[in-house]
């Protein structure tokens, strides 16, 4: 059985920021870990009715994927604009 999650996709700097609001619980760990402070709170609400995150608040995204790494809910997926992100291990789009 496969489950589909809807993404909010934002292009910013070097990265394509996919955020899955049904998974994001609004803990904010990614905001603190972002080295260029591009991540901030968005208007949309997530799994627990708390704001989700979005890029575009500080400097442009450098696609370092730290936010994807520390997200406990796998709610963030960063794709590089040069297309290297698709080679990531893990669940591929079906």
């Amino acid at each position: 059985m496969s489950v589909a999650f809807k993404a909010i996709t934002t292009e910013n700097g070097k990265g394509i920021f996919h955020l899955f609001p049904a998974l994001c619980k609004g803990c904010g760990l990614c905001i603190e870990k972002c080295p260029v402070d591009t991540i901030g709170w968005a208007k949309q609400l997530g799994a627990f009715g708390t704001p989700v995150v979005e890029p575009g608040h500080g400097k442009p995204c450098i696609a370092c994927k730290k936010c994807q790494l520390v997200c406990p809910d796998a709610a963030i997926w960063i794709e590089r604009r040069d297309g290297k992100g698709r080679s990531d291990s893990g669940r591929q789009p079906e």
């Binding site: 059985m1 496969s2 489950v3 589909a4 999650f5 809807k6 993404a7 996709t9 996919h18 899955f20 049904a22 998974l23 619980k25 609004g26 803990c27 904010g28 760990l29 905001i31 603190e32 870990k33 799994a47 627990f48 708390t50 994807q68 790494l69 520390v70 997200c71 406990p72 809910d73 796998a74 709610a75 997926w77 794709e79 990531d88 291990s89 893990g90 669940r91 591929q92 789009p93 079906e94």
Partner: protein, 264 residues
């Protein structure tokens, strides 16, 4: 556009049960992601048994597409050791919190370490009892405020926090793999867990990994304060790194099974 973007969950994660049952910002999600990636990398999903303990760790009972068993108070380890002895081809992962592993279930952990059982144990250390509301645990840091230590933990009255990996490293025979990772360094943590699983698959002995974790709900911290507590205060008392590797034990360096300081 035919393909919609999907979350990059490890293949072994069970997507139907997501979002998982842990609180926002909980370290369990990060540690279970590292475990999932390690299982994916080794390709052992078909023959892995996952055991969770009581406490917050039991909320992972439907986390993976793995055969899962839940037991109480540190009994996860002996139950899984039993499974491993009957079916040696399986890979067993015992997933516990610091309450189950160090307080109520310490007997099982110590006995397993002395016997050098073929089991991979992952202990999540969040410095208190999360599920019951944040009471003092054996791992609570000196001076840390919890529900039952409102003025901070008094080490004269309640002793100093237990160092789990050091304890296991001191009693385990050669062949053991003992390490401490942290959710502040996910890549290293995944590496430790993968080495721990390999240690069991190759039949060398016990693998014990402690993971420093976060509990923003009971610490009553925001994201910035959570990271500060893990990276500064917890890391100062609980040094991360490998304490015992099977290779060094074979060379006779740890013949008595009692290496001194953690090796960085």
């Amino acid at each position: 556009m035919a393909l919609a973007a999907q979350p990059q969950m490890p293949r072994v994660w069970r997507a139907e049960t997501k979002p998982h049952k842990f609180c926002p910002g909980c370290g369990h999600g990060i540690i279970l992601k590292a475990l999932g990636e390690a299982i994916d990398a080794l390709g052992i999903q078909e023959r892995t048994i996952f055991g969770c303990d009581i406490g917050c760790s039991l909320l992972s009972w439907d986390f993976f597409n793995l055969d899962t068993i839940q037991t109480h108070h540190g009994r996860t380890t002996p139950v899984l050791v039993g499974i491993k002895r009957v079916r040696p081809e399986l890979v067993v992962v015992s997933y516990m919190g610091d309450g189950g592993a160090y307080a109520i279930g310490a007997q099982h952990l110590v006995s397993s370490a002395v016997r050098n059982d073929l089991v991979t144990i992952i202990v999540v250390n969040n410095t208190q009892y999360g599920m019951t509301g944040g009471q003092m645990a054996p791992t609570t840091l000196p001076g840390q405020k919890t529900e039952t230590t409102p003025y901070g933990r008094d080490v004269k009255l309640t002793g100093r926090p237990i160092l789990g990996p050091e304890l296991v490293a001191a009693v385990a025979p050669p062949g053991a793999y003992v390490a401490r990772g942290s959710i502040a360094n996910v890549v290293q943590l995944k590496n430790f867990i993968q080495k721990g699983l390999l240690n069991q698959i190759e039949g060398r002995g016990i693998a014990f990994i402690e993971a420093l974790s976060a509990c923003p709900t009971n610490w009553r911290t925001n994201a910035a304060e959570t990271w500060r507590f893990i990276e500064k205060e917890m890391a100062a008392y609980f040094p991360t790194g490998e304490l015992r590797t099977p290779g060094e034990a074979k060379n006779g360096q740890a013949g008595e099974g009692t290496p001194g300081a953690p090796e960085h």
